[in-house]
Amino acid sequence: MSTDIEYKKIFGWPESLKHNPTHYCPGCGHSIAHRLVAECLDEMGLREKTIGVPPVGCSVLAYNYFNFDMVEAPHGRALAVATGVKRVHPDKFVLTYQGDGDLAAIGTAETIHAANRGERISTIFINNAIYGMTGGQMAPTTLLGQNATTAPGGRDSRLHGQPIDISSMLAVCGGVVFVERCALTSVKQIRKAKKAIKKSFQCQLDDLGFSLVELLSPCPTNWKVSPKDSWDWVNEEMVKTYPLGVIKDTTGYEDKK
């Protein structure tokens, strides 16, 4: 007796990711975010026409992991560099992948003005409320009371200012069509994040304007907690300052439930 078995691939290594081990710490959100970006590019058939711009920060070496063309930018200038790329290649797919220091501190001007011009670019914004690569200094997004090596008693609003909500700031810019904040710390949220990233990519393909997906991302090393506790901290504390959900959506897309 013989049985014909039909095999169907239901899971695999995304083509948009190289087979390189990453330098990211155990429990870091970057690996998940990289995977989501790669899956979305693959599923939308964009890899071969993508030019990506990584930030300066922990993911500065993203071009060792992403399997598409990439150009490094000076710290904070990713969206200016991406503007130059997109204006030369309007038919290509251009994305930036930036951390909170890059996008919301040193690069605030470049971020806001590229968004306001409505550059046809998709931005993945990794918010882990800390400077990772340099070893745990205060980020623009560090929560009040949160310890950092340059805010040893915890962030104090009088001394350091409030944590900045740049996604909401961007939402008021006319050129911005879609902003959503998700988290990388539960299966449900990760699935939501993937959907948001795809939607952001679609905005660019449909020539609608600028879009951004903010991803609350754990940094157990610099928060000095276990990976498990870092997930809990995102889900219980970080979301109070940075509530999850759609911040702006003028796309007119009907979301598939």
Binding site: T50, I51, L61, F66, E72, V81, G84, K92, A109
Partner: protein, 364 residues
């Protein structure tokens, strides 16, 4: 077809020359005294299917240039002294990433905001790298007018040839003066050599990255810098440019570039009537400085008078060129005024008389 003879100011001249040299992407931030350049291109770029963006800052603009350059396009930005200081970050990155671009500096008085009158006080910044790291950028110093056209074409060619940013160093005077110019025909972008390093998406090939951070543990950055140095050595050997106007009876060489050289030329003419025979040596490439040419000339004419629109920057390269064998005199006018030929004539008379009233003897 070349253009008719046209009357344009220096800034507009550079803009039209850039378009005809194949530049279709301009990014810049307004600053006096070069605003006529972005204003001109804001209207001109759309006519030729190009892109003009007024960036939110000089920093953003130079990084847009970086992005357009890595995408394979001919691209430029322009500014004046304080703005060019802000661009140094991007220029350093482009040097490290080996990306071509043309950067115009119509210099004004400094330091800080200074004023908006012409100056040549950015010589050190332009010729010594300007930003951080061990790099050089070719620097072309037009004398104004037609040479602004010719050197703009050359700047784009040099940038592409060496995959390196190239600076054009003018000043507020040159940017504002209207002169008759003739433009060569538009180059055909298809005739330019293929940029096989540019990023256009990885269809049909391996993905690649262009970056300046080189962390390897096996001396990769060390080797990268040695490779860059080899390129700078090649540029030094092959790309020196200068003009000499020294008739047989020349007793004194005036070394000056840009607007200072034109002012000096008027002074030299004036002095002929007094029986003083001065000649002109005009560096056109400030880096690489035409050191051997000046050295040879100074062997025949050992009196060298350096005139600059700053208090002494290029004079250091002149000292390196002619050494202690020559008598070197220096006269510099700080930026922020419009200099006159009479001031240079006084300087040269003073050298001939040996009264030391104007300028000073440089002891090497």
């Amino acid at each position: 077809m070349p253009s008719e003879k046209m009357l344009m100011n220096g800034s507009q001249t550079v803009g039209e020359a850039a378009v005809r040299a194949g530049c279709r992407y301009y990014f810049g931030y307004p600053i006096t005294p070069q605003n006529e350049l972005p204003e001109y291109l804001s209207a001109r770029m759309p006519e030729v299917g190009g892109t003009f963006i007024q960036g939110e800052s000089e920093i953003a603009s130079i990084n847009m240039v970086l992005g357009a350059s890595v995408s394979g396009a001919r691209t430029m930005t322009s500014s004046s002294s304080p703005g060019v200081s802000l661009k140094q970050e991007g220029i350093s990155y482009m040097a490290g990433m080996e990306l071509p671009a043309v950067i115009i500096n119509m210099m004004r008085g400094g330091p800080g905001l200074g004023n908006i009158a012409p100056s040549a006080a950015d010589y050190f910044q332009a010729t010594r790298g300007g930003g951080h790291g061990d790099y050089r950028t070719p620097v072309l110093a037009p004398g104004g007018g037609q040479e602004l056209v010719d050197l703009t074409f050359e700047a784009f060619d040099l940038a592409d040839k060496y995959r390196n940013p190239v600076l054009i160093l003018g000043d507020g005077l040159m940017g504002q003066i209207m002169e008759p110019v003739v433009f060569p025909d538009f180059i055909d972008l298809k005739d330019l050599p293929e940029k096989d390093w540019a990023l256009r998406g990885c269809k049909g090939r391996e993905a690649r990255a262009v970056f300046s951070m080189i962390l390897g543990q096996k001396g990769e950055l060390y080797r990268h810098n040695l490779d860059l140095q080899k390129k700078y050595d090649r540029i030094t050997a092959e790309e020196q440019r200068w003009e000499t106007k020294c008739p047989e009876n020349t007793e004194l060489i005036v070394v000056a570039y840009g607007s200072a050289a034109r002012i000096a030329e008027s002074a030299i003419e004036e002095l002929k009537t007094e029986g003083i025979n001065a000649g002109l040596f005009r560096p056109i490439s400030l880096w690489p400085f035409p050191l051997p040419a000046l050295r040879e000339l100074s062997k025949q004419i050992p009196k060298v008078a350096v005139f600059e629109l700053c208090l002494g920057q290029m004079v250091e390269d002149v000292i390196l060129s002619v050494g202690e064998r020559s008598e070197i005199y220096f006269h510099g006018l700080p930026g922020g005024i419009i200099p006159t030929p009479a001031q240079v004539a006084e300087f040269l008379r003073s050298i001939v008389k040996g009264d030391g009233k104007v300028g000073r003897r440089i002891e090497v």
